[in-house]
């Protein structure tokens, strides 16, 4: 029954698309070309971009039923989200199965760091003030980037709202209130002020509260179908209280130069709900976080050929972990991380078709760990990292674009590592927007402070983990803007082969559950991503959009043929996963918008541990989400109302074993923009 529902949805989408296609096929000449309106910073040089990122932005981003960046990233192909459930549960992503620590996340162009555990909780980044979320496999295709950006295997770029003022405007304001199931209260406020021409100030604040008390259900049946047990309980200790405040200053002082400053502060207190295991229905761990950073960027260009960008950042992150559960040994730990980051990037345009870039980055990380219970002297760890990159990009005729980069990474006193990357894009038919893209890239994931120094577990002799990526992609883009039906289509199919070696894993050290970190593990990943975006501009101001993603991945452990799990799929990587989004928008003659959006996410069967046995088997899960919205223009204010129903059919599922996810839940949003 459920399978057929999924099929019907897909077939319906396909049929709709086929109908639309047939209607316009007679009218559109093959050489017609239509580009999506984009904000191009500069049009003087030829664009030398190769990698087509997966992008969600603007209205499309807001149409998805998403609270945080993590929710939005589920709609990208090749991405697996780890979600421990609820508003406060940790959410990290794993791109093309290489491990979440191979994915770098950038906030307005500067990487978010966590030298302690290398993981960025994407659940903490609100979509509220997000302009754009992009995912680049390999690296960003513009070679004008900081050295460190060449260093990660997958890159997620988060770009916050930039202020745009019309000539007579000085102030924009944005007010929003969201409420929903599990006592979700999420007001936010944003103000943009034009201080003078080219100089603007943005302020943004948001508060999130949820008691996290969602019902979940464990039901198991006997092989004959009779109920073995059926228990419904309420998730405990999953509450969250979080405040985010941001301040940005942007100054475009000339046609080529600008600087900006951004200050960010996030404060939260939350419960860590813990695993649901036999006889344990709640846990008592509490977590306090404060993430503060200030970052600045300055960029200019000289002689039409030479661009320079300077980045600087200071981050100060505090975490306090307390275990209240009296059944466990108490713990009370404080962590303070500091980061200083400087980057200088230069790009030289030798010819219109040939660019060179050179960048140097420096970063200092420090961690202070305090065990408040033992009252021992705090422990300090720090490290200096240097990156030096050289890259080149060239366009050969209209057909071929090439990029190559070399990155040298030196972390503390270790021998520098050199990693190359090569990118290629071939567009065989000038008239047809079909390109064949390919890349090879090496990247290192450096051990975190926890890997290196965690009490008893850390191993200071760890080598960095190496990922080698090979990827080939076929991308096709076509559009036509005719009446009655216009369309935009992008279709991409990619195949990749990745190999992760020297994987850093925890390995038992003798008896008594002592573990140590070792460079032990090799994973071979073969994957295919297929994605299509289709927008149809229908008569009577209707717009229909679909977005289909499908990923097939094998991620095989090939560490040691003697292991029982040799050749098995690594934990939590489904072979099949995908998503489908369909939305219908209508614009009235008065300019009001109404829309209906449906999204479906599928994550196939997978295993919770290395060994692919029936005892580690995890069932597929899939959710249907529905939302409806309206936008009205009232006295110069833009008003928006939105109702979302998530997990429409109330599936009882787990992304991570023993961490139940919420059943059906609702969110309502009211927003006003001036």
């Amino acid at each position: 029954m459920k399978r057929s529902l999924f099929l019907i949805v897909l077939l319906a989408l396909g049929a709709l698309a086929a109908f639309a296609w047939d209607a316009d096929s007679l009218r559109i000449a093959a050489h017609d070309s239509f580009r999506v309106a984009e904000i191009e910073v500069t049009a003087r040089a030829l664009t030398k971009d190769i990698i087509v990122p997966q992008t969600l932005k603007g209205a499309e981003l807001r149409r998805l039923n998403s609270l945080s960046v993590a929710d939005a990233l589920r709609y990208f192909s090749g991405v697996q989200l780890k979600d421990y459930g609820g508003v406060g549960g940790i959410k990290t992503i794993n791109v093309r199965s290489m491990g979440s620590q191979h994915t770098a996340v950038y906030y307005n162009g500067v990487q978010l760091g966590n030298a302690q555990n290398g993981q960025v909780d994407l659940g903490r980044f609100s979509l509220d003030n997000m302009e754009e979320v992009q995912l680049f496999n390999g690296q960003k295709s513009d070679i004008f980037q900081s050295a460190r950006e060449f260093g990660a295997a997958g890159n997620v770029y988060l770009t916050t709202r930039k202020p745009y003022f019309k000539d007579n405007e000085r102030v924009h304001a944005h007010l929003r209130m969201r409420a929903g199931s599990f006592a979700l209260a999420n007001p936010s406020l944003g103000v943009d002020v034009k201080l003078m021409d080219g100089l603007s100030l943005t302020m943004d604040a948001e508060y999130v509260y949820s008691d996290g008390r969602y019902p979940f259900r464990y039901r198991r049946v006997l092989p004959n179908g009779e109920t073995a047990y059926d228990t419904t309980a309420i998730r405990q200790n999953g509450d969250i209280n979080a405040v985010r405040a941001e301040l940005g200053l942007h100054h475009y002082y000339s046609t080529t130069g600008y600087w900006r400053l951004h200050a960010y502060n996030y404060w939260s207190e939350r419960g860590v709900p813990g695993a649901i295991v036999n006889n344990v229905w709640r846990s008592g761990e509490r977590l306090w976080d404060r993430n503060t950073f200030v970052q600045g960027q300055w960029q200019d260009e000289w002689f039409d050929r030479w661009s320079t960008r300077l980045l600087a950042k200071y981050a100060n992150d505090y975490t306090h972990y307390l275990n209240y559960d009296q059944r466990l040994l108490p713990s009370d730990n404080e962590y303070l991380q500091q980061e200083v980051y400087l980057s200088l990037a230069n790009k030289l345009q030798l010819f219109r078709w040939w660019d060179l870039s050179l960048a140097y980055d420096y970063q200092y990380n420090a961690l202070r760990r305090d065990n408040l219970l033992l009252e021992a002297a705090p422990e300090h760890f720090d490290r200096h990292s240097h990156w030096l990159s050289a890259a080149t990009a060239m366009n050969i005729r209209e057909y071929l674009r090439l990029q190559a980069a070399v990155l040298m990474t030196a972390v503390s006193c270790q021998l520098p590592k050199v990693t190359p990357s090569v990118f290629m894009s071939l567009r065989p038919y000038p008239a047809i927007d079909l390109s064949i893209n390919a890349f090879y890239k090496q990247s290192y994931r450096y051990p975190t402070f926890n890997d290196l120094y965690y009490t008893d577990l850390g191993n200071a002799d760890l080598r960095p983990e190496l990922a080698r990526q090979h990827s080939v992609e076929l991308a096709y883009r076509k559009s036509g803007r005719q009446t009655p039906v216009g369309y935009e289509l992008t279709a991409t199919a990619s195949y990749y082969y990745n190999r992760v070696t020297d994987k850093i894993i925890a390995y038992p050290k003798g008896q008594q559950f002592r573990w140590t970190m070792l460079n032990l593990g090799t994973v071979k990943i073969n994957g295919t991503d297929i994605k299509t975006d289709l927008s149809l501009f229908l008569p009577m101001q209707f717009t229909f959009r679909t977005r289909l993603n499908y990923t097939y991945q094998t991620a095989i452990d090939v560490t040691n043929p003697a292991d029982t799990y040799y050749g098995d799929q690594i934990p939590y990587i489904p072979r099949h996963s995908g998503s489908a989004v369909a939305g219908l928008d209508w614009q009235s003659s008065r300019g009001d918008h109404y829309g209906l959006n449906y999204s479906f996410i599928y994550v196939g069967e997978r295993y919770g541990q290395q060994e692919n046995t029936i005892y580690n088997y995890v069932q597929p899960w899939y959710t249907h989400d529905l939302s409806i919205y309206g936008e009205w223009d009232v006295c110069g204010w833009g008003l928006k109302a939105n109702i979302e129903i998530n997990n429409l059919l109330g599936q009882d599922y787990e992304v991570i074993q023993n961490y139940p996810m919420p059943k059906q839940n609702i969110r309502c949003t009211l927003a006003a923009t001036y």
């Binding site: 399978r3 096929s25 049946v221 092989p223 036999n278 009296q326 219970l373 297929i530 292991d563 290395q610």
Partner: protein, 634 residues
């Protein structure tokens, strides 16, 4: 139309995209009802041994994958997730992190550490109940009580001290609690004391190094014995000494094995001891770091290395020595299936079986269960070993109140349970019957059939004198058998004596009687400074009646030894002499000495048959270490 444009033909492209996604949809499977984890039987050995073995797989913290497996050693079938077959309705299965498993009386107990409970099951692992105990670690049993160590007490403690809970095995209620040291792990009962290892293992660099001594009467800590850093395991040998495995701090402090008297340190052996199993007079020590197995004599502490090759192990973990095999588990990388290896004592590997994650804890049982094909209906096979002790009434003797150990407050029922623990399931503990007339009555989980030839083997601790087979340590006991004629399950029916070689001997006295008085209990030798009169007997005198054999003690080569009788008596010939330790129900005679044909028997009684003593070893008392129904499962 050339190929390129054909490929780019829109209909074709669109169709391909649709087909691709539909294909993808077909490949993707849907979610069905979540079926409980299956119980899977795998044939692993053709050897036919008795009983079975429980394997408690710990599973990693938070994974809820504690898994109880079982191997039927008679059919050689290894069942993974045995518990699941009988308890499908237990919400979230057995639980998170299995830490200890033991059989006591008619029940199986498993400590599930991170589920904060002790799971109480019947012998076949059917859930009976659970005892909620926070962060519980290990168990020990004595009388009608279970003692459970736990990393935390019922009230949070600023010093993070652990506790030991006393649980009544009848009501499964916590009766008392005592605070001990940091992170108590294994514990064991010796005499009326409980000895608890305080590991301190949760806080690196602050390991504890003591053993807490708990007086079971007052349930208070009366002493702390300093052993070595980070003690985690403690086991009692047959002489009442305690073997403590101290793990060291994995840095400067080396691991060591500390042997306690039990209140004082007798010996320190520098040795890494990941696991320990004591059987008879050997302590088997698993050195997890060096991947070696050693045997240490509990008598003279001489060390032997076994020729068992553990070099291919990733992480040697669990260990159990039984009379016919040594079981060792490999926990691999702790996050995947382990392996259970079975070795013969000569070191050759007999078979292996794939286990769950972290097979840490083994429990040998004498019941062989099988699962029918439908996966739900189990069938019990009878055990060839003693399953019940009905009566234990020793006559006055130097080992009485010691084998088994009497604790204040024990009643006759408690003493029977202690005997059961020592004898049932081939445990091969030692029970002394004291002077003439003292007896024990035991039974099996079935009626013992009277088949052709010998039917029963009863084990003792007799041995031959070296160089002279006619003499040795022989402390003969007479065997009586009885059928449950009135069907009340109690040994209150007619008894028949099994006629031994001296039955008709003129020196044998039939219908002899003797009375022991508590008031006469004054002469205690230097080795046994305790009452000889059974302390749980409330009456002040005990009268026994039966057959008295002539005393056999003689001095041969300057040693006080006994002449070994030809046949028909318990504790007369060494256990290795099968002919000399087995009995035929056809030997049964009634009170008048007439042979009786009994098709089967339900109760067996053994009593000390001589009234004799030697200066060196005190009174002659029959000792019994077990019994086997030879016809069982034939």
């Amino acid at each position: 139309m050339h190929l390129g444009s054909y490929i780019l033909n829109k209909q074709f492209l669109l169709l391909s995209v649709c087909v691709l996604f539909v294909c993808a949809a077909l490949f993707c499977s849907c979610r069905g009802d979540e079926v409980i984890y299956p119980t899977i039987g795998t044939h692993v050995t053709d050897e036919q041994r008795v009983g079975g073995l429980y394997i408690l797989n710990e599973g990693n913290m938070g994974s809820n994958k504690a898994r109880l497996d079982y191997i039927n050693l008679e059919s050689g079938t290894y069942y993974s997730n045995w518990y699941g077959a009988f308890n499908p309705t237990q919400t979230k299965e057995l639980g998170d992190v299995g830490n200890d498993i033991q059989q006591y009386g008619n029940r199986l107990y498993a400590v599930i550490n991170c589920s904060h409970k002790v799971e109480v099951m019947d012998r076949q692992a059917r859930h009976i109940s659970k005892v909620d105990l926070p962060n519980c670690r290990y168990m020990a049993f004595s009388g009608s009580k279970m003692y459970v160590s736990a990393y935390v007490g019922s009230v949070a403690d600023a010093d993070m001290l652990g506790a030991v809970y006393e649980v009544d095995t009848a009501t499964l209620q916590v009766t008392r609690e005592v605070k001990v040291g940091h992170q108590p792990d294994e514990l064991c009962v010796a005499g009326d004391r409980l000895y608890v290892c305080n590991s301190g293992g949760y806080i690196t660099d602050r390991y504890d190094s003591t053993v807490s001594v708990i007086d079971l009467g007052s349930f208070t800590e009366i002493q702390r014995i300093t052993v070595g850093l980070n003690p985690t395991r403690i086991r009692r040998d047959n002489s009442g000494h305690l073997w403590v495995c101290c793990q060291g701090n994995y840095k400067s402090a080396e691991p060591e094995l500390v042997i306690l008297s039990p209140t004082e340190v007798l010996k320190r052996v520098p040795m890494s001891c990941a696991n320990i199993s004591i059987l008879g007079q050997t302590a088997y020590i698993l050195d997890g770091e060096a991947k070696r197995l050693y045997g240490i004599s509990t008598i003279d502490y001489s060390v032997t290395e076994f020729a068992i090759d553990l070099s291919a192990y990733e992480h040697p973990y669990g260990l159990l020595a039984t009379t016919d095999a040594i079981y060792i588990t490999d926990a691999k990388n702790y996050v995947s299936s382990g392996v259970l290896h079975c070795y013969a004592y000569d070191g050759h590997e007999r078979w292996t079986a794939k286990t769950g994650d972290i097979p840490g804890h083994l429990c040998r049982v004498m019941q062989a269960y099988e699962l029918y094909d439908d996966g739900t209906t189990p069938t019990g096979k009878p055990s060839p070993f003693i399953s019940r002790v009905y009566e234990y009434v020793p006559a006055m003797g130097q080992f009485v109140n010691e084998l088994p150990q009497y604790a204040d407050g024990d009643d006759a029922e408690d003493m029977c349970r202690k005997c059961e623990q020592a004898l049932a399931n081939d445990a091969r503990g030692l029970i002394s019957l004291g002077g003439w007339g003292g007896y024990i009555t035991f039974g099996f989980d079935h009626s013992v059939k009277n088949s052709e030839g010998r039917d029963l083997q009863i084990l003792g601790n007799a041995f031959r004198m070296s160089g002279n087979d006619e003499y040795g340590s022989s402390e003969p006991g007479i065997v009586l058998v009885s059928r449950d004629d009135n069907g009340n399950g109690k040994p209150d029916d007619t008894w028949y004596e099994l006629r031994g070689c001296l039955y008709a001997d003129p020196a044998t006295t039939h219908n002899y009687a003797r009375t022991y008085r508590r008031a006469d209990d004054t002469q205690h030798n230097t080795f046994h400074q305790h009452p000889y009169y059974p302390q749980w007997i409330t009456e002040d005198s005990l009268t026994f009646s039966g057959t008295l054999l002539p005393a056999q003690t003689q001095t041969v080569n300057g040693q006080n030894v006994q002449r070994i009788l030809e046949y028909g008596y318990v504790d007369n010939k060494p256990n290795s002499d099968v002919e000399g330790t087995t009995f035929d129900i056809d030997w049964a005679v009634d009170a008048d000495g007439h042979p009786v044909l009994l098709p089967s028997v339900d109760f067996v009684r053994v009593y000390t048959a001589v009234d004799d003593r030697t200066d060196a070893t005190g009174e002659i008392s029959t000792e019994i270490t077990g019994a086997i129904d030879l016809n069982c499962n034939k």
